[in-house]
């Protein structure tokens, strides 16, 4: 059996990135890997919320009503504002205050505590979805316990699954971007966060570079922390197989066959933490309440023409709850993982189940 090049992987944006190119020219492959990795690190440096020197932090800290930004910043902001508009305000890039109040004030990385121990500025620390789900029923039962039982912790109500909604007077609607002059006007206090759209947007940028440098028909994919962009499959060639990681078990429980475009998953099992009161928080904020959303869905996997579109669609569907999510995924297909852990397939023509775990290993 011929050996095949393994994906070029590296850590970036607090997660794992991977790029795979099926091309016999090793020199060209390495050159493309270097170019892509350099771009992604630069993107991370420019848009991180956890480094005061980043352009994002400088724009957020600037008290002037109009600020000059780089071309890169302007292009990302245009994409983020498109995502907010397309999702009806659910994928909102101006929820920095809410996400910090929810406890996400430092980089939590892609997994549990991957960036080191929790500090005093990050709530009680990182947690796992499994811990949160185990505690939910107990916390719910405690709500009936009388408070005179001193050894029982303060009751924390289990979150009731509720669809998220757009923020009233959303900050993103008041942002004015001039892409010609590279100026951004926004009301005082409106701050930006690239967490909701940055990886998908970055994957699209790398994909555009690969598509420009490689011949049509060359197979490749870009993986930005699970947001995938895949080469277009030529007629007669086999499709890409994309595995979905279950948010609770971690298994590759399902696979999707796609002929190009993008696949992205939004999940509450990444960047989850435990608050001082015993409740759990995660990075997907309900714009209407400013608190982490518990909509009855643990993750949504969506298919799109671009990674930005797929990522936006996945987040939109997860925040909107199961009913709306089914409607949103009906066109292109996807997967819903309910709070029980059950996986619901949307548009089964593109989804194969179950898969052979040995094959997927």
């Amino acid at each position: 059996m011929l050996t095949r090049e393994t994906p070029h992987s590296f850590a970036c944006m607090g997660t794992e990135m991977a790029i795979w190119i099926d091309h016999s020219d090793a020199v060209l492959r390495q050159e493309l890997f270097r170019t892509a990795e350099r771009f992604l690190h630069d993107f991370d440096w420019r848009f991180t919320r956890f480094d005061a020197g980043s352009e994002l932090c400088q724009v957020n800290a600037d008290p002037a009503p109009v600020v000059n930004v780089s071309r890169e910043f302007a292009e990302w902001l245009a994409a983020a504002l498109w995502a907010a508009d397309w999702s009806g305000g659910l994928v909102d890039p101006t929820l920095v205050d809410a996400i910090e109040q929810a406890g996400y004030r430092r980089s939590l990385g892609d997994g549990a505590d991957s960036d080191g121990p929790a500090d005093a500025d990050a709530g009680n620390g990182t947690a796992t979805l499994v811990e949160a789900l185990k505690l939910l029923p107990a916390l719910s039962a405690q709500s009936t316990v009388k408070t005179n039982q001193a050894r029982v912790p303060a009751p924390v109500a289990a979150p009731i699954p509720t669809p998220a909604g757009p923020a009233v007077g959303a900050g993103w609607r008041q942002v004015v971007l001039d892409r010609a002059t590279l100026q951004v006007a926004r009301p005082h206090g409106v701050r930006f966060d690239a967490g909701g759209t940055g990886k998908g947007y970055a994957a699209d940028r790398v994909a555009a570079m690969l598509a420009e440098r490689l011949a049509s028909g060359t197979r490749w994919f870009v993986d930005c922390g699970g947001d995938l962009r895949l080469s277009a499959v030529t007629a007669g060639d086999r499709p890409h197989t994309v595995l979905m990681q279950h948010p609770i078990t971690g298994d590759h429980s399902h696979s999707l066959q796609v002929w190009g475009g993008a696949v992205a998953t939004s999940s509450v099992n990444r960047r989850i933490w435990r608050n001082d009161d015993g409740s759990f928080g995660h990075h997907l904020i309900d714009p209407a309440t400013g608190r982490p959303a518990w909509t009855g869905l643990l993750s949504v996997t969506a298919v799109g023409e671009s990674a930005l579109q797929a990522e936006t669609l996945a987040k939109w569907a997860l925040l909107a709850g199961p009913a709306k999510a089914r409607e949103l995924l009906a066109g292109r297909g996807g997967l819903l993982v309910q709070q029980s852990g059950a996986v619901e397939v949307a548009a089964s023509r593109q989804v194969r189940q179950p898969i052979d775990h040995k094959e997927a290993a």
Partner: protein, 103 residues
């Protein structure tokens, strides 16, 4: 009865003697051939055409093994290793499957 049997015997003997003589004489043979009845013209020549499927066999299925793989002269257990060119064409490794996970 005896006369009849004798007559049949002599007739058969005479015919056999004539056949031997004609076969030995080339001139008489040609005469005899000319006197033979011509084949009926209504009988056409029947030609059977077989449909042939040509299959190009891979080297490994060649009927004769290369001399390099003849049995060793010293005896012992005979072994056969296919030539390198006869090995089945390597199949491409499966492409890596990317994993989508929560971001």
């Amino acid at each position: 009865m005896a006369v009849t049997s004798l007559a049949i015997f002599l007739t058969a003997f005479a015919w056999m003697a004539w056949r031997v003589r004609v076969g030995a004489d080339p001139v008489l043979s040609k005469v005899a051939a000319k006197q033979a009845p011509a084949p009926a013209k209504h009988i056409k020549r029947v030609v059977v055409v077989r449909k042939v499927i040509v299959t190009e066999l891979p080297p490994a299925q060649s009927t004769a093994a290369p001399a390099a793989y003849a049995a060793p002269a010293t005896g012992g257990q005979q072994s056969y290793s296919p030539p390198a060119s006869a090995a089945p064409a390597p199949s491409p490794a499966p492409a890596p499957m990317p994993v989508t996970r929560g971001s």
